[in-house]
Amino acid sequence: MKRLEDLNEEIEQCVKCGACRAHCPVFGAERQEGRVARGKVALAGAVLEDEIDLDKKVIEDLSQCLLCGSCSAQCPNKVPTEDIVAAARRRIAEQKGLSTFGKAVAAVIGRPRLMNTVAKAGGALSGLLFEKLPENSGLRLRFPLPYLDADRTLPPMAKVPFREKVPEVIDGDPGKPTVAFFTGCGINYMYPAIGEAFVAALKFLGVTIIIPKEQACCGLPAVSAGSEPTVEKLARQNLDALTSRPVDHVVTACASCNAGLGHIYAGLGEEFEKLAEKTEDIFVFLEKAGLADELAALPPASEKHRVTYHDPCHLRTRGITREPRAILRALPQVDYVEMPDAGTCCGLGGTYSVYHYENSKKIGARKADNVATSGAELVATDCPGCIMQLQDSINHAGGDQRVVHILELLAEALPGKE
């Protein structure tokens, strides 16, 4: 991963024009210069030139970034603010140590067995700890644990993690490709139904699926927290797990995991670059396999739902916006409608929403507004993190829309399903 020193040229590319003020979701929530990309790039530059110490205010300002890439996408000079901020955070972690929460993140995700235990304990206790709310407002649960605001609504933890429920190899038809499914933590611990839908979709196409048991967290929360050693450790473990058997593709159903494997890892060395090249988002894979046409040929559904799509930042910034929509639009039960500003960040931002829940809620509230404006009953997306945040935002706004993964709608539509 690039160090702050290596990004000097990129920092100097910022001509301070202010265009990011129109696109930064954090600045939208709190209008002051330290919150916008231009300010954070200026601070990173000042840190690099020893103009300023890593004092409390600098650390606070640099923590106020979702790493969503909205600014870079619209920047006339394409300044990679998310890379600059992430590098600055790694420098802070090196010099000042990780924050308490950052340490907790690194400790848990860096040790997959511990993570499994913690998550399973959450699942077993969820009936006792979490207050269940009516189904029609989404699964609203309170999560009164340290670091999490009591006000936040979260899905329950799975009683049995997804990867413990499925075999490691699911054979497909001869002549069809073999893919490794990188599940990520969201699907494994919170949304196993998405994993099941993934398996159903690929089985439908006759693809051989490998779900390596030894895979770990992709490491993106550690990127957000600034823990480079944790990222490298996880990347190594995942590389080993995903390449132990020959596969044609490594497929993800989580935008953040896709960015981890497909983008962050690429900077870690040649073997990681190869893994990055093989990594594909599920809808890119399905679209290339011609699934949209097969879906269009299905008989029309008796009942249609109005569905909109939210672009996860980690796909949008890498140009993946068409394929998820193509699959969604082709589903027989879907009456697709585009919401305003579908491409703006939901406000989760890895560990951002844990540090800055108030701003995160403000950013989410705008999103909930846009969902309401679209008139959709369902919001479909391609990232468990976004699902969690969007549902929380809609719950707070008092909306009754449900947030789902496109795969869940796809599994519902596939023939052979009653």
């Binding site: 590319q13 001509v15 301070k16 024009c17 202010g18 265009a19 990011c20 003020r21 129109a22 209008r31 002051q32 210069e33 330290g34 300010g39 200026a42 601070l43 000042a46 103009e51 300023i52 004092d55 205010k57 600098v58 300002d61 006339p76 000079n77 394409k78």
Partner: protein, 460 residues
């Protein structure tokens, strides 16, 4: 360093949370789009004219300079705290106070972002035409202080043509109003017009009364490629003399077209040495046939190709070409001086020839694009500051460009203002007597010289 006693006074005025002396904040309010940097001593975020009035009174009593700031997106340093002191931002004053559909006017606070205001009035079928390139992020307060322009000015005029009245905190801390919500008004001096474009040196704008127009029903966009800049310029004259005033008449010279082609791979034939983007608006019936009429007017002027947008998407694709210009310039050289001279419309080809000669003489690339319809040319001098000698060449070229524009009856700046960036060149354009007239005004209104000192006139 500012005395803690004074910071305490500021905290009492605007509240603890809205005053900061943290180094990180001082850095964040030290720059604008000129890329120059001056650290203030303190940043304040007031929310009302009353608070700003108290701040100005304190600044006068204690002799501390105050630098008002909108989005900090100016190109000439109008908001830079060149002498330390207080940066006063309008970021918390961002409300649209009223949209009066009966009288077609609106009242806003200075921190409202221009595009957000445009969207709000368009929702009720109204139209605020000024469209500076920064409209997605610059503020109306900043637009008024700099008298911002934009492509649509050809037909609709600049910011000051839409400002009916202002509420202003004077340099000594009084709150006054100028003009008002009427379409006419000649009682007293026209202070509204004086304050528009005064670059924050004569008062801090706290409220703006804006004139609106009905939203035109439709628009039509076309892109025309010419084999020479003369053809494009002749086309501009021909269109206007045929009694058609387009909404926008944007041009790019051959060097700009080359940059865009190289950077983006856009399909523009090599023979194209100039491009015009022409947009007309009005009633739908009136517009149909307009593109054909324009094509007929210009057909004998060396047209290589005409592309007419039939849908909103096609129109957007044509504008993409224009928007690709700025980013693609970086490929030429990393550093850019963006001057915005304005010459009489008929002198555009002569000016472009002069700029090309200056470019060749100094051996540095200069690309020209901009608003052909009103003679406002963005002259981009592309250098690499790291190359020894490039800075000196650029400075010499800038002065020659200014002199050239003035010789042709033009001005050094159509839109960006003077600030500090163009201040050294003021004597080229403004006579000693005229400068003295301006300075006398400033000295009378700001006797302690605390409001945005050293702007427009560096030695003041």
């Amino acid at each position: 360093m500012i005395e803690p006693r004074l910071v305490k006074i500021l905290r009492d005025i605007v509240g603890d949370d809205h005053v900061t002396t943290e180094k990180a904040d001082l850095i964040c309010y030290s720059y604008d789009a000129t890329q120059q940097k001056f650290l203030p001593d303190v940043v304040v975020h007031p929310i009302s004219s009353e608070e700003i009035s108290l701040i100005m009174k304190m600044a006068n009593a204690e002799n501390i300079p105050v630098f008002p700031r909108g989005a900090g997106s100016g190109f000439t340093g109008g908001s830079l705290p060149t002498r330390g002191g207080i940066v006063l931002t309008t970021e918390r004053m961002g409300s649209i106070l009223e949209i009066d559909e009966e009288n077609l006017i609106a009242t806003v606070e200075p921190g409202v972002v221009t595009e957000q205001f445009q969207k709000a009035v368009e929702k009720v079928g109204l139209f605020y035409p000024p469209d500076p390139a920064s409209l997605k992020f610059s503020t109306l307060g900043g637009n008024v202080a700099e008298c911002a322009g934009g492509p649509r000015c050809v037909k609709y005029g600049v910011t000051k043509d839409y400002i009916l009245g202002l509420e202003v905190v004077t340099p000594t801390g009084d709150v006054i109003t100028t003009g008002g919500p009427t379409m006419k008004g000649v009682v007293g001096y026209d202070l509204t017009k004086l304050l528009c474009g005064s670059e924050g040196t004569l008062g801090i704008i706290t409220k703006i009364v804006i004139k609106l127009l009905p939203m035109p029903e439709a628009k039509k966009t076309m892109l025309v490629l010419f084999d020479s800049i003369d053809g494009a310029a002749a086309a501009v004259s021909a269109i206007v003399s045929n009694k058609i005033i387009p909404t926008t008449l944007e041009f790019m010279d051959g060097r700009t077209v080359d940059c865009v082609r190289e950077a983006t791979g856009l399909e523009v034939p090599k023979e194209a040495r100039a491009v015009l983007i022409i947009e007309v608006d009005g009633d739908r019936d009136h517009l149909s046939g307009m593109a054909g009429k324009i094509e007929k007017i210009i057909e004998s002027l060396g047209v290589v190709e005409v592309r007419v947008a039939e849908t909103a998407e096609e129109s957007e694709a044509l504008w993409q070409i224009r928007r690709a210009v700025s980013p693609s310039l970086r490929k030429v050289n990393p550093d850019k001086f963006n001057e915005d001279i304005c010459v009489p419309r008929s002198k555009v080809p002569e000016m472009i020839r002069r700029v090309d000669a200056i470019s060749d003489r100094h051996g540095i690339p200069i690309v020209n694009f901009g608003h052909a319809g009103d003679g406002n040319i963005h002259v981009n001098i592309m250098i690499d500051k790291k190359v020894p000698g490039d800075m000196e060449k650029a400075e010499a070229a800038i002065e020659e460009v200014f002199r050239g524009a003035l010789e042709l009856g033009g001005t050094m700046s159509g839109e960006h203002g003077v600030g500090i960036a163009k201040a050294p060149y003021i004597p080229l354009e403004i006579s000693e007597k005229a400068a003295e007239y301006m300075k006398t005004l400033k000295r009378a209104l700001d006797p302690n010289n605390v409001l945005n000192p050293g702007k427009i006139f560096l030695d003041e």
